[in-house]
Symmetry: C2
Subunit: 117 residues, 2 copies
């Protein structure tokens, strides 16, 4: 993934729409081990066919939003059924999250802006 010249790691480099977004907003608990799980899941997702990119952030209060981008519904469904991801989803509900929301959306348009040098 590449993105803004000034910060290549944070923005997803996506193709022209249409494609799908999985908008995952969550409130964390203080359980240990979250960062390792989250890093591992991002590594795994990147290897899924149909994964296009992701952007993620979380504030000091533990409220986070991760948006992952996918080629189509089939790619999202396959990732949801990945065995290690399913185990992480269970751990998420049992340990890491106080609440979450998932919204599946079809991206119709996009606009990128980078400050001129």
């Amino acid at each position: 993934m590449s993105g803004a010249e000034g910060d290549p790691g944070r923005f997803a480099a996506l193709p022209e729409p249409p494609y799908y977004a999985v908008i995952f907003s969550s409130l964390r608990t203080e359980a240990a081990g979250y960062d390792e799980m989250a890093d591992r899941m991002m590594d795994l997702a990147c290897r899924e066919p149909g994964f296009l990119g992701a952007e993620s952030t979380r504030d000091a209060d533990g409220f986070g939003i991760t948006v992952s981008y996918w080629r189509d519904h089939g790619a999202i469904a396959a990732w949801r059924r990945d065995a290690e991801h399913m185990a992480a989803q269970t751990m998420g509900r049992e340990q890491f999250y106080a609440a979450f929301r998932i919204r599946i959306a079809l991206v119709e348009r996009s606009n990128d802006w980078d400050k001129p040098k």
Copy 2:
């Protein structure tokens, strides 16, 4: 807006899909005055017809994601043309943002989860 019982302020309380999402990811500069502008824009957006809710977070590195939810394209277009919002968009490009991405998406499905008490 209400949301998770434990944290009513962070999750948007949305109707059943379909509705639209504006996914705004941004990398901030260190210019002063951002929080006041952002608070004012959220106050204004909440009063727009067709505004359904929003979720927003930003980490210590200045990378943030705000997802606002809207009834339809017309509501998004009206908000984009709001005069005070247009002035804020200009200030955003001139002062507050190093880069941003905007993606307009049709939310097809949603799933809410709150930890059982």
